[in-house]
């Protein structure tokens, strides 16, 4: 089995120049042409200017993360092309660098180009845009056309996307952009294709696929699972979960509220959940901090609310638009005192969709807050998945009593009735037989405040018992790659993708005698200890791989299972780990022959 055949394309420019939309469009087009694709944008915490890029990796096999080196580099920005020097360095020998003919290539760029043996292809981006499209901003479309040409993508694939994107605005604009795209496409066929020595096989029969990012998938899953209320306060990268709902607002019948702050967001969601509507909020670290007091409210009064914390570089404001996995232990231990919490850590788009569903089912089943931990990378990444991966969910409302059951109710309703599994039958306020008033003070079975010591112990036992009951419900970690391997990367959340590609890269390399795999956690709290022990028992040499400084999952497994990792790999500069760097580090570990095979 030889290495994956893949081509990597980077579209670079300043914020506000359509790098993101352009990249997304190109991704969609190549996908429709019949390629597997992975794409994600890299942007700075500013609105215009600066230096952003969108990278796409395509292949005839599924792709789950970007490569370090690229084959095609496009600069949207005739002004700041020099910012592209670091990207030029990423070009493969024979890679192509597309820029406007008007952009001047300074010595530094020239040097970089020669150094890597790339091919510099200035072309009339602006000229074609203005002459054919009548507007210089269409140079993006010209460039995309050119890339499509170089990639020998059937033009229809690109055309369909371009037309769709601009049809919303006006058919005229759609036509113009289509023509402009064609002009770039034709230019490339005539002048560039011949120079480009790389290629991938298109599979025209690929059929429908979705390109949807992690946050959209979480929102989609939540809605499908019956979430009808979301209150949130904008915070990158959590905002897009909320915006998925607001965009569709009335169509999908969801009450969406942009509140005055995160405290109001979670409190409104808890209020809505308390009266029986599936509710959620979304935020990032700083906003999550402001929510932890209310998590205790939900825990104590046993209200199921869903909180999405999309992690970014911390601490404090940190690196607002970059990725990190540094909130795990905070999330698990968040809020004062002790109460059950459930923490989900999806790592793939499919898992994000499922996490949306699971979160709302678990929240109602265990009547306690559920936290979905995602991060900037997963929030923004897209890759092709088949639509049938998103199934119509089963909705489980747990021990919720129906109106009919309540009508038949004989005795007084006890909101916090003691029970073996710790879960009390739940009735909503608004029915004549269920009048009750829960308190955040310690309370008795009715919900009334009491300081009685014996009751306190029983209530604590009841609430904490839910954690034990839920433990059996939590998904165990899953192996990526071969079941048996000489080395196992222990990962959680968004690093699923890079772990997958690292395994491919390493195991397919014939010069590597050993095999590696990974153990990925997509649900993390409460830990299903037995099942984890089983999985870990298959691990020969455990290497913790985390996008943080302190190896938080490793700490958690040591704390809860006394499990020791052999090696630790960490990245905390806000940039996603790459398969190449992991491969190198894994090879080093083998080289140091730390592993007694």
């Amino acid at each position: 089995m030889s290495q994956k055949n893949q081509i990597s394309i980077k579209v670079a420019g300043a914020a506000g120049q359509g790098v993101e939309s352009g990249g997304q469009g190109l991704a969609k087009a190549l996908r429709r042409g019949g390629l597997h694709i992975f794409g994600v944008s890299d942007y700075m915490s500013l609105i215009k200017g600066g230096h952003n890029f969108f990278q796409i990796t395509v292949s005839d096999e599924p792709v789950y993360c970007n490569t370090e080196k690229i084959h095609i580099l496009v600069s949207f920005d005739p002004q700041q092309v020099q910012d592209t020097v670091p990207h030029i360095r990423e070009l493969h020998e024979g890679g192509i660098f597309i820029l406007d003919e008007g952009a001047k290539v300074d010595p530094a760029m020239q040097a970089a180009i020669e150094e890597v043996g790339a091919i510099c292809c200035p072309m009339p981006l602006v000229k074609l845009a203005t002459e054919i499209g009548g507007s210089r901003i269409m140079m993006n479309t010209v460039a995309l056309g050119a890339v499509a040409g170089i990639m020998q993508l059937p033009f229809e694939a690109l055309d369909s996307v371009v037309r769709e994107n601009f049809a919303k605005k006006s058919t005229e604009l759609a036509d113009k952009n289509s023509q402009v795209a064609k002009s770039g496409y034709d230019f490339a066929l005539q002048n560039l294709v011949s120079k480009f020595k790389y290629s991938v096989k298109y599979d025209p029969a690929m059929g429908d696929k979705m390109l949807i990012n992690g946050n959209e998938a979480i929102a989609f899953g939540s809605w499908a699972a019956g979430c009808r209320f979301i209150s949130f306060y904008p915070m990158t990268p959590g905002t897009s979960v909320g915006e998925w709902f607001t965009k569709r607002n009335s169509k999908i019948g969801v009450v969406t509220k942009h509140t005055e702050d995160e405290i109001a967001s979670i409190c409104m969601a808890i209020g809505a959940a308390q009266v029986g509507v599936r509710s959620m909020t979304t935020t990032s670290g700083g906003g999550f901090c402001l929510m932890v007091e209310a998590l205790g409210l939900a825990g104590m009064t046993e209200v199921g609310v869903v909180v999405v914390n999309a992690m970014r570089g911390g601490p404090s404001t940190g690196l607002p638009t970059r990725t990190e996995q540094a909130d795990l232990l905070f999330a698990i231990h968040s809020s004062h005192g002790e109460f059950p919490k459930i923490v989900l850590t999806p790592g793939t788009i499919e898992q994000c969709y499922e996490a949306g569903i699971r979160a709302h089912n678990l929240a109602e089943k265990y009547q306690t807050p559920v936290i979905i931990l995602t991060d900037q990378l997963l929030a923004a990444e897209v890759y092709d998945i088949s639509p049938d991966k998103f199934e119509i969910p089963h909705i489980d409302r747990g021990k919720l009593l129906s109106k009919e059951q309540l009508d038949k109710l004989e005795s007084n309703y006890l909101r916090y009735e003691f029970s073996a599994d710790g879960i009390s039958p739940r009735a909503l306020q608004g029915h004549p037989k269920t009048v009750h008033a829960p308190a955040t003070d310690e309370h008795d079975e009715t919900g009334h405040i009491t300081e009685d010591a014996a009751n306190r112990i029983k209530m604590m036992d009841k609430r904490m018992q839910k954690l034990e009951t839920a433990r059996r419900d939590i998904k165990p970690p899953e192996f990526i790659g071969p079941e048996n391997a000489d080395l196992t990367m222990i990962v959680w959340g968004s690093t699923y993708g890079v772990a997958y590609e690292t395994i491919e890269l390493f195991n397919r390399n014939p010069s590597n005698k050993q095999k590696i795999n990974a153990l990925h956690f997509s649900e993390l709290w409460p830990l299903p200890k037995d099942k984890i022990q089983q999985a870990l028992s298959k691990v020969k040499f455990a290497v913790s791989v985390e996008q943080n400084y302190t190896s938080q999952l490793a700490t958690l497994l040591r704390a809860e299972l006394g499990y020791e990792m052999k090696k630790f790999i960490n990245r905390y500069d806000g940039r996603p780990l790459t398969a190449e760097e992991l491969c190198t580090q894994v090879q080093e570990i083998f080289a140091q022959s730390l592993i007694t095979a």
Binding site: D208, G253, C267, G271, G276, S279, G430, V435, H436, P438
Partner: protein, 300 residues
Amino acid sequence: MVITQERQTVTAKDFKTEQKSTWCPGCGDFGILSAVQMALVNAGVAPWQVLLVSGIGCGSKLPDYISANGYMTLHGRAVSIAAGAHLANTDLVTFAITGDGDGLGIGIGHAIHNMRRNVDIVHIIENNEVYGLTKGQYSPTSKRGFKTSTSPEGSIEFSVNPLALALTAGATFIGRSYSGDPKHAAGIIQQAMEHKGYALVEMLQTCPTYNKTQNNDWYKEQTYKIEEENPSYDNTNRLMAYELSQKDDGRYPMGVLFIDHSRPTYAEQVPALQQNKAALIDHSLDLDSQLFEKIKASYN
């Protein structure tokens, strides 16, 4: 509130509970409790049709001492929680019940923002001008110079003016009454309930333990009914209301200071609730599979 449910014939008995109160003897909260009860009885709202969301404080224990739906939550957050509950179930007559520290100190932001949204709830501020449950510190409404454990040399802050603030923030009903006059208090609360939009009721409250000078005799002296002192008062006139709220003769006008029928409530304008006028809680959870497929297709 827009009271959507059928009125019931209820009596005080229906709201009685065994739970024994922990309030100090003579606490004004007793008066407020009976006023709330009276208002519900008079409005014909049954224990199961109401939701009394409170914060944390002496007065916020009110829902523990009445047999009615309640939710005793967090210090400062009752308004947000009540707003969420209201949007999720517009059929429940929803109250936010807070202290002065609770509603005007830590919670002032939520109050202001929900006032300008005109969220259709009744917000009762039990204003004893002190922090009771934490044993007597000065509050945002305490008078300048008020000596407490956190202001041993007298408070050096200018106090919040709840009525002026509510007026400026955009509350569409602003009333004031007093714990020593439960009948009057009940009347104001009922009007607040019948009002469509955010209704703020400042309930002047005695705290015999930590605010001894402002006892019932004192309040009898300092309070007066607006309609009695200025019959020509027009409580739909914003500037007039502001002027009255600014009078600093140290006396407390009581009654309905301001009322505005012109603004729609927040819930009325929420797109999802316009599409389907039923309370959100009654919307089906079932998936519209066509829509589901359509959304999926949009990602192709």
